[in-house]
């Protein structure tokens, strides 16, 4: 907003604009009050408490009050090989599931969005995995993936598998097994969000492209992807964040098994199982930093590539 010297009549116009601008800004903040209230109550206090606890040696069932230990928890965290394994497992899990969920979700969304006879049924079908409670779905898949379960059975009958396999017990296939389940479960989430984004793209853009002789692939690349970009960005951000915080499926599949823990599982077993609230809070802060790193990467990517 420049304040360079101007002839007398102009300032009146400019002042009215800034007054409107100020009123609008005030209105915006007023509209944000409910959301900010929720954030303060339901998020800021717990987060603040966690941050504070990460600098103490508080234990769940200890009778003595917690002592301030400064950065000791964080120093121990750097030496913690189990935590490093958990981070690495979670990163692998996140990369695989987000990539496949996105591909599958996009495929489903494109299919449902196009004009063909099975469309209505497809809409119902695509939501079924998402509608089943996660704990139940995880237990269902766990029993299906046992060596005497239906996946091994069907696989051997169809000749795809040589003999029944213990997908979850075998360390070589356990990550693949849990990724398959999570992809199955959350592809509908991605599909639904991308579908909403697809529906907003006006159909006549495609008609015009058709007239100009563009084939399906060109239409997808030049029309669909760019216009879908905001929806893709939001979907990817939230799916990545959710994958980094994964807990339910890991708990049902692996429990506390070494080598297959997610970050949240390790945090939970430290806080609730072992009772080390202070150290567990430091773990939670570390998880927050890992996730924040991803957010920064996404935001930078969006700013540089998409805008």
């Amino acid at each position: 907003m420049s304040t360079a010297a101007t002839p007398a009549p102009a300032p009146r116009r400019r002042r009215r604009t800034t007054k409107l601008k100020r009123r609008q800004t005030r209105l915006a903040w007023v509209l944000l009050v409910p959301a900010l209230a929720v954030v303060v109550f339901v998020a800021i206090y717990p987060l603040g408490k966690t941050i504070y606890q990460s600098f103490t040696d508080q234990e769940f069932l200890a009778l003595e009050p917690a002592q301030w230990v400064g950065l000791q928890n964080y120093r121990d965290l750097l030496d913690d090989s189990i935590f490093r394994d958990a981070v690495w497992t979670t990163l692998k899990f996140t990369l695989i599931t987000v990539a496949f969920e996105f591909a599958l979700g996009l495929a489903i969304a494109l299919v449902v969005n196009s004009r063909f006879r099975g469309r209505g049924v497809m809409r119902a079908v695509m939501l079924v995995p998402w509608a089943i409670p996660t704990v139940v779905a995880a237990q269902m898949w766990k029993s299906m993936l046992q060596s005497n379960g239906v996946i091994s059975d069907a696989g051997t009958r169809l000749g795809i598998l040589a003999h029944p396999h213990a997908w979850i017990a075998d360390p070589a296939t356990s990550l693949a097994a849990i990724c398959a389940v999570d992809i199955w479960k959350t592809a509908p989430f991605v599909a639904l969000l991308l579908l909403a984004g697809l529906q907003v793209i006006p159909g006549d853009l495609y008609e015009a492209a058709e007239v100009d002789g563009a084939n399906a692939l060109q239409q997808f690349w030049k029309i669909t992807l760019p216009l879908l970009a905001p929806a893709i960005f939001v979907t990817l951000v939230f799916r990545t964040l959710d994958a980094l915080r994964v807990f339910d499926v890991f708990y049902v599949f692996f429990g506390n098994r070494l080598g297959t823990q997610s970050m949240a599982i390790y945090a939970q077993s430290t806080i609730v199982g072992d009772g080390y609230v202070g150290y567990g809070a430091a773990i939670s802060m570390a998880i927050f930093l890992v996730i924040a790193l991803f957010v920064v990467v996404y935001v930078t990517f969006q700013r540089v590539v998409l805008r």
């Binding site: 209105l27 509608a131 089943i132 704990v135």
Partner: protein
């Protein structure tokens, strides 16, 4: 396309043999094959576990795990469904989950649309900060804030504010579920608000509308697909949530569906015996209405109502 144009096209640009093939009836059918293969694969992938759940639900307890596996139950039974319905905590669970999920969805939409209006249609300093503040709520694992949340809902005093004890009530879930429904609701709705043309409200303001009228009459109808989408996702998220429900609810009368489903216990009374058939029957009972609900509201997602606004 007039005959003249077609004749012209035919003369000026001779069609290649491959192009002719793809345009012929056989070619058009072949083009559809990969598409329909994809459709079938998606069907199988999404539905097989559900088919398995159905199979388990109709199989008597004794045949569930007998080998060789029965893909279709040899003695189908309605017993599991009867057991599921007879469990009072399950019926209550359906009602409780409906109340909590419905309430959380309405709250999220109410708060979220107001926030999205501010963040999507106004430019002001601190806008980005607020967006990322919302996002930061989802950057902590639930277990990290569980302890603090438990202290809060058990009633504590924060300065002049005295919070009541809402432990073991549905209110605790209603407020704590906002932690994960509100961020993506706000983000998705904001992106919908941003996508609307910039000068949309100008006309309305010129006509003398108040901001609230602009919000209610102009913007909301145009982002209806976004509202329905986030509403559905929030509903299902709240419906399926397990950890907070397990930590904040004690009384079986207040169990939500995930708690109820994991509480089914077999005839022996031992918690080691899970009546898998009954649990699957309960899952079917829970899933079918959810999918039906989604189908009813999906009509509003696929309306394409914005087409008119963009042109006009």
């Amino acid at each position: 396309m007039s005959v003249a144009t077609e004749a012209t096209t035919h003369v000026i640009r001779p069609v290649s043999r491959s192009r002719a093939f793809w345009r012929s009836p056989i070619g058009r059918l072949v083009k559809k094959v990969p598409f329909y293969t994809l459709v079938v694969l998606i069907f199988v992938y999404c539905l097989f576990p559900f088919f398995w759940a159905l199979r388990c639900a109709f199989t008597p307890e004794s045949d569930l795990f007998s080998t060789p596996l029965q893909y279709v139950p040899e003695h189908p039974t309605l017993d599991n469904f009867r057991q599921a319905f007879q469990a009072e905590f399950f019926r209550r669970g359906l009602l409780n989950s409906a109340i909590v999920a419905g309430g959380v969805t309405l709250l999220s939409l109410a708060i979220g649309t107001l926030a999205a209006f501010a963040l999507g249609r106004f430019r002001f300093r601190g806008r980005s900060f607020v967006m990322y503040l919302m996002l930061s709520m989802t950057m902590f694992p639930s277990i990290a804030i569980l302890g603090a949340l438990y202290t809060m809902i058990s009633g504590f005093s924060l300065g002049p504010i005295d919070l009541p004890n809402i432990y073991d009530t549905l209110w605790s879930l209603l407020f704590t579920y906002l932690i994960f429904t509100l961020p993506f609701t706000i983000w998705v709705l904001t992106s919908f608000m941003e996508a609307l043309p910039g000068d949309l409200e100008e006309a309305a303001y010129v006509d003398g509308a108040t901001p609230f009228q602009v919000f209610y009459k102009v913007l909301l109808p145009l982002i209806l697909p976004g509202l329905v989408t986030t509403g559905l996702l929030a509903f299902i998220s709240a419906w399926n949530e397990y950890l907070f429900a397990l930590s904040f609810i004690q009384d079986p009368d207040k169990y939500t569906v995930p708690l109820a489903i994991t509480s089914f216990v077999g005839e022996s009374g031992s918690s080691f015996q899970q009546p898998w058939g009954t649990i699957m029957a309960a899952t079917i009972i829970v899933t079918v209405p959810l999918v039906a609900l989604v189908l009813v509201f999906q009509r509003y997602i696929l309306a394409g109502l914005t087409a008119g606004a963009v042109k006009g």
